[in-house]
């Protein structure tokens, strides 16, 4: 088992080495987008939106946008990124001639994407804290965990789609039909509780919804422990199931 972890970690190391070469242009899009959102909606729209549950619109959106950043970075890394590594550059063909096996490729991808999700969710939260949209608290550290879980679930969606599509342009369809709706309907832009019951129930199938809920509780410092762990549980189950499917699919596409 330790050997498996060591070899999986090497794949994460490889990704980090590549990532850090152009670290600023890699980080920038993931970080700047939520900031633009904040600028446009948080500041622009706030003239028309009165407070939500006693919070300014910017404070309301902050945690949700931060957790969404984890989803985006994870999805793109495991969809386009993985597809290029798998089909175009074929780097796994070379990798699999070494002691690394397909299972370790899967673990390596997932470790990397969970770390990326964790750092992005925390990083974007920190920026919002610095701008004064969200109060600073130790709870910020909890965003590592939330980001990691969202990263795993959404990274797995990316991996699954990468193994199913026939052409790289089909990722746009996946994005339009899965990732976009997750972003728009997961309670990061408006409170799901104000929506009809069917919407509230439906939101539970979104991994992002649970992440957003957890992020909000943490950053607004009103954690209801039982509700928090309910969301954590649902998100964990989703992440495990998605990762498991992704693992089966990826191993199949690496071995014939």
């Amino acid at each position: 088992m330790s050997e498996t972890l060591k070899l999986s970690w090497l794949i994460t190391v490889r990704h980090w080495r590549v990532y850090r070469k152009y670290i600023w242009s890699n980080i920038l899009p993931t970080v700047i987008e939520p900031c633009f959102f904040m600028l446009s909606l948080g500041l622009g729209m706030s003239a028309f939106v009165s407070e939500i549950d006693g919070k300014s619109y910017a404070t309301f959106m902050g945690p949700g946008l931060a957790v969404s950043a984890a989803m985006f970075t994870a999805f793109f890394e495991c969809s386009y990124g993985f597809y290029v590594r798998l089909k175009m550059d074929g780097i796994y063909k070379a990798l699999l001639t070494t002691p690394i096996s397909p299972r370790e490729v899967v673990f390596g991808e997932l470790i990397w994407v969970s770390l990326k999700g964790a750092c992005m969710a925390t990083g974007v939260s920190l920026i919002f804290i610095l701008f004064g949209f969200i109060p600073l608290s130790w709870n910020l550290l909890g965003l590592f965990g939330v980001g990691a879980l969202v990263g795993l679930a959404c990274g797995a969606i990316g991996l699954i789609s990468a193994t199913m599509i026939k052409n790289i342009s089909q990722f746009q369809t996946v994005y339009a039909l899965i990732i976009s709706p997750l972003f728009f309907f997961s309670g990061n832009l408006f409170p799901v509780e104000r929506m009809p019951t069917w919407f509230q129930v439906g939101a539970h199938i979104s991994p992002l919804y649970h992440g957003v809920k957890m992020g909000q509780m943490l950053l607004w410092q009103n954690v209801d422990v039982s509700v928090f762990f309910l969301h954590a549980g649902e998100l964990t189950v989703m992440a495990v199931v998605f990762c498991w499917i992704a693992g089966v699919n990826v191993q199949k596409s690496l071995q014939s």
């Binding site: 070899l7 590549v18 001639t97 070494t98 014939s256």
Partner: protein, 302 residues
């Protein structure tokens, strides 16, 4: 000692039988060739050796270990020159090599020394910090050799190693392969170049449609399947019968008629008396054997 033992290896892709029961043995230190037309099952077999292709039945042992069950141990002893280069385009030459060395579990101090030495041998030391995209096809191929050799493999698997390379690079690589052979490395080679196989292989198998059609040393195979010398002539109706009456063999492929004889003198005397000017007159080679056994060239165009 036996480096590789394959017994009755089969592979089915749904209803397609890519390998229909292949058995052979490779001794340690031997250079063993897998020849065959495209689609003969060579790459499927090679893939099984390092575990990316699962076999349907049969057994494979590499130094006594099954690559399907103990893949990690097996692969640590292999060096593979894959058919495609599959270099990591996101990294430079040296980064590619050091990262690969880490996958192979080589300590970084040892690795840098080894990589430098190999890059020098392959005349790539000046490209150390170059990005992969800037390399020519020949340079990439040489780099893939470096990659395969970093961990001092006991078995070197070469899947069409010199396809698309210029003669100078091919000679450089052949030189390296011979040097490794002398040091006791076992080499498994697939190639479409018969001169390459004849030059490098101690023993080889010719495969077609998932089966082994013939095996032996290049010399034996030529003796077994072809006359010692052949004269290439213009295809003429009736020539075959008259030659066979004179005790010479005759066959045709798409390009030439071939008159075969057991000695050069007899054959050239026969050509002179029959008043035939040959296009060439040469010893039979592995290519003749290959075409005769696989028959693909002939069968396809008849």
């Amino acid at each position: 000692m036996q480096a590789l033992v394959c017994q009755n290896v089969k592979k089915n892709f749904k209803s397609f039988h890519a390998l229909k029961g292949v058995s052979f043995t490779v001794q340690e230190g031997e250079c063993f060739g897998l020849l065959g037309p495209n689609g003969a099952g060579k790459s499927t077999l090679i893939g099984m050796l390092y575990g990316v292709v699962k076999r349907s039945s049969g057994s494979i042992e590499i130094f006594g270990k099954d690559p399907a069950l103990q893949g990690r141990d097996v692969r640590a002893r292999l060096g593979v020159v894959t058919q495609d280069d599959n270099l990591d385009n996101a990294m430079t030459v040296i980064e590619n090599m050091t990262m690969y060395a880490r996958y192979m579990g080589i300590p970084s101090a040892e690795c840098l020394e080894r990589v430098t030495e190999l890059l020098e041998f392959m005349h790539l030391d000046h490209k150390k910090n170059a990005v992969i995209e800037s390399l020519s096809g020949g340079m990439k191929r040489r780099l893939v050799f470096v990659r395969a050799l970093i961990a001092r493999p006991q078995i070197l698997i070469l899947d069409e190693p010199t396809t698309g390379l210029d003669p100078a690079v091919r000679q450089l690589l052949w030189d390296k392969i011979n040097e490794l052979k002398k040091q006791g490395t076992t080499v498994i080679l697939t190639t479409h170049y018969m001169d390459e196989a004849e030059r490098l292989c101690d023993r080889l198998v010719i495969m077609d449609e998932g089966e082994i059609r013939s095996q032996g040393s290049p010399k034996n195979l030529i003796q077994q399947h072809c006359p010692a010398f052949v004269a290439g002539v213009t295809k003429t109706p009736g020539l075959g019968e008259s030659m066979e009456r004179l005790g010479f063999s005759y066959y045709e492929d798409k390009l030439h008629g071939y008159i075969g004889g057991s000695s050069l003198r007899e054959l050239s005397e026969c050509l002179t008396t029959s008043n035939i000017v040959p296009q060439f007159l040469r010893p039979s080679n592995l290519e003749d054997v290959f075409l005769k056994i696989t028959g693909r060239e002939l069968a396809d165009h008849e």
